[in-house]
């Protein structure tokens, strides 16, 4: 039975206290690791949301606002972009392609986005991956809709199902475009981005369902245009919400951005997604740094709990120390015994904490994805995680040095006197 074994057996003898201490450490470690995992996932989710798009153009507002509503489907546009301006920019020789976006309606809590076929052709996410269809194809007919993977799975939609689009973006809407139902013709594969939560229709469809609407309310009976009658009309939109631009040559991106920002006819703004994303990340980063600090303090509290438990046990264990001393144990053995104890408690806490983290992530993953769109890849511990966990154990050993030093002093002053 070496010192390690003695420390282990001694802890087993005090297993209820030890288990509580380990639990406290485990919970704090799980919190820290969980926050770290979430923020890595969130950061990756951010970065993966859009790629291959050189510029996003919308009405002049804030850079973040434009990014949020055009890419993340969060918030609303303050103004629209006129069809004329869009056409002018789209036809510019340096522009390779554009993706128009028209937002403002929803379907059972999911945003509806009007666009055209170029969207499926040119939009990229997660470092250049293309959208793919699990089943079906892009919209073709006026009343065709393509739904994201999550829309389909959450609402149980299959190809051919009819859906009705609601006016506005509230999850419960009373104004429904129920006179012009759509039919699902395509279901997209999962991307882990807001695409999954979007219902896509053509720009013309957006125009069509609003033909008989004025100022956000349905026209009076008699003024309504039927679904078939709408087909006969000119459905070219007067305006769109925003559009994405792919350049012929990346070199021209900044020139084009400046030109759009200086555009005289209309107050437009062009942003570079990568720049806006990192700005957004900086903003959100403050919150998760705060979370990390809180989690770090919880870990500190867990370790202080361990310190308290060890210090409390010291007095009742002076007898144990005196017995070991009488058998020839040197003060360094006593010191090692207590440091080992701190090491065992912290290591067990860290291991349990890691297990707890993965159990929780596993359990929470579907909820996180559904509610917040955070897609947690089941990943192993990163080097950084291991560094943090190692740091916790080192901190515990350093803290353990205090009771160890106390016990060391006891052994010198107590001699072989056994205190009861």
């Amino acid at each position: 039975m070496n010192i390690l074994g003695l420390a282990w057996r001694s802890l087993l003898n005090r297993r209820s206290t030890a288990l509580l201490t380990i639990s406290a450490i485990a919970i704090s470690v799980a919190l820290l690791l969980g926050v770290e995992k979430m923020r890595t996932a969130a950061r990756e989710g951010f970065a993966n949301t859009v790629s291959g798009v050189d510029l996003i153009v919308g009405a002049r507002s804030g850079q973040l606002n434009l990014l949020l509503y055009s890419v993340f489907r969060v918030g609303d546009a303050t103004a629209n972009v006129s069809w004329d301006s869009y056409q002018k920019i789209a036809r510019h020789p340096d522009v390779a392609w554009t993706i128009p976006i028209s937002l403002g309606d929803s379907h059972r809590g999911f945003r509806v986005m009007g666009t055209n076929g170029d969207y499926f052709e040119h939009y990229r996410y997660a470092g250049g991956r293309r959208m793919t269809f699990i089943s079906g194809k892009p919209f073709d007919d006026l009343y065709d809709a393509v739904v994201g993977a999550e829309v389909a799975s959450q609402l149980g939609y299959r190809l051919g199902d009819p859906i009705v689009i609601a006016h506005g973006v509230g999850s419960v809407s009373f104004a429904r475009h129920d006179d012009k139902p759509f039919r699902i013709v395509g279901i997209l594969a999962k991307t882990g981005t807001p695409i999954d939560r979007t219902v896509h229709v053509s720009l013309e469809a957006i125009t069509a369902i609003h033909l008989d609407w004025q100022s956000g309310a349905r026209a009076l009976p008699g003024g309504q245009v039927s679904a078939d009658a709408a087909r006969e009309q000119d459905l070219t939109p007067e305006s769109i919400t925003a559009f994405m631009v792919g350049m012929e040559s990346k070199v021209m991106t900044f020139t084009m951005q400046r030109a759009i920002n200086d555009y005289r006819q209309e107050a437009l703004m062009a942003i570079i997604p990568g720049v806006a994303l990192s700005q957004l990340w900086n903003l959100v980063g403050i919150a998760d740094t705060a979370l990390m600090i809180v989690a770090a303090f919880v870990v500190l509290a867990g370790l202080l709990g361990m310190l308290t438990a060890i210090l409390t046990s010291l007095n009742e264990r002076r007898r144990e120390m005196a017995i070991l001393r009488s058998l020839g144990a040197r003060p360094k053995h006593i010191f090692t015994l207590l440091i080992t104890e701190a090491g065992i408690l912290a290591s067990a806490g860290v291991v349990a904490g890691v297990a707890l983290t993965y159990a929780l992530l596993f359990a929470a993953q579907p909820v996180l994805e559904r509610r917040f769109g955070i897609f947690l890849q089941p990943s192993g511990l990163t080097g950084y995680d291991v560094l943090i966990l190692g740091g916790i154990i080192v901190a515990a050993l350093l803290m353990g040095a205090y009771p160890a030093w106390r016990a060391y002093r006891h052994t010198l002053s107590d001699g072989l006197t056994i205190r009861v």
Partner: protein, 234 residues
């Protein structure tokens, strides 16, 4: 009887010790105990017994004077060297609570070997577990059933026997017993003591038995009174 100086197990000269900030506890001009001798050291509580044992065991360092144990002067040794020396050469039995509650009977008996390679090396046949079982049996704890029990479930008398087997394991030159029988009734006391003594004799260990109860003194080669030899008067 004047013991032969070359064959001394314990030899203390002009030994003085005071706990920090306290008056002198030990002022011992001379103490000689021969190798193989069985000495009864009597002294009421508070007479400095524990302090004297701490000095002999090398846990405490005297302010002045010298202690030689089995021919080795403890004074020049470092703290760690004295600890090692104690582990190699002295087996202690205390009044009570000798055992680590979280170890089994055999593990408690074998514990000294963790700190002393010399004691492990002295075990005949080189099988510590066998030797531990033999000692336990010799001291009256033969049954396997007892060996399986947690030490906390043993009676005080049984615990003291385990402690005695532990002190004897690896034949240390000196066995120091500090009131080991005070928690036992009179009959088990004599029985315990005679088993301890015969085992000490068998392996040639010196026995220093400390107690305030003089009724057992007749079993020993010699009886010393700490009140007589310690010049500190409380």
């Amino acid at each position: 009887m004047r013991p032969d100086l070359a064959k001394l197990a314990i030899e203390a000269r002009a030994l003085r010790y005071a706990w920090p900030g306290k008056p002198l506890t030990i002022d011992l001009p001379r103490l000689d105990i021969a190798r193989g001798e069985r000495v009864f050291l009597k002294g009421p509580s508070g007479s400095g017994k524990s302090t004297l044992l701490g000095l002999l065991g090398g846990v405490l360092s005297p302010q002045s004077g010298s202690v030689r144990v089995l021919g080795t002067d403890l004074a020049p040794l470092s703290g760690a060297a004295r600890d090692r020396f104690r582990g190699d050469n002295i087996g202690f039995i205390f009044q009570m609570f000798n055992l680590l509650p979280y170890l089994g009977v055999l593990e408690n008996v074998l514990l000294p070997l963790q700190f002393s390679a010399a004691r492990a090396a002295r075990i005949a046949g080189g099988d510590p577990v066998n030797e531990a079982r033999r000692l336990l049996a010799a001291i009256g704890l033969g049954s396997d059933d007892l060996l399986q029990r947690p030490v906390t479930e043993l009676s005080i008398g049984q615990q003291q026997r385990v402690a005695a087997a532990r002190a004897l394991l690896g034949s240390p030159g000196i066995i120091v017993a500090d009131e080991p029988t005070s928690a036992l009734d009179h009959d088990s006391r004599e029985n315990f003591l005679s088993l301890l003594m015969s085992e000490c004799r068998a392996q040639g260990s010196t026995l220093l038995f400390v107690s305030h109860d003089t009724s057992l003194g007749y079993l020993f080669d010699r009886t010393l009174s700490l009140l007589d030899i310690n010049e500190v008067r409380s």
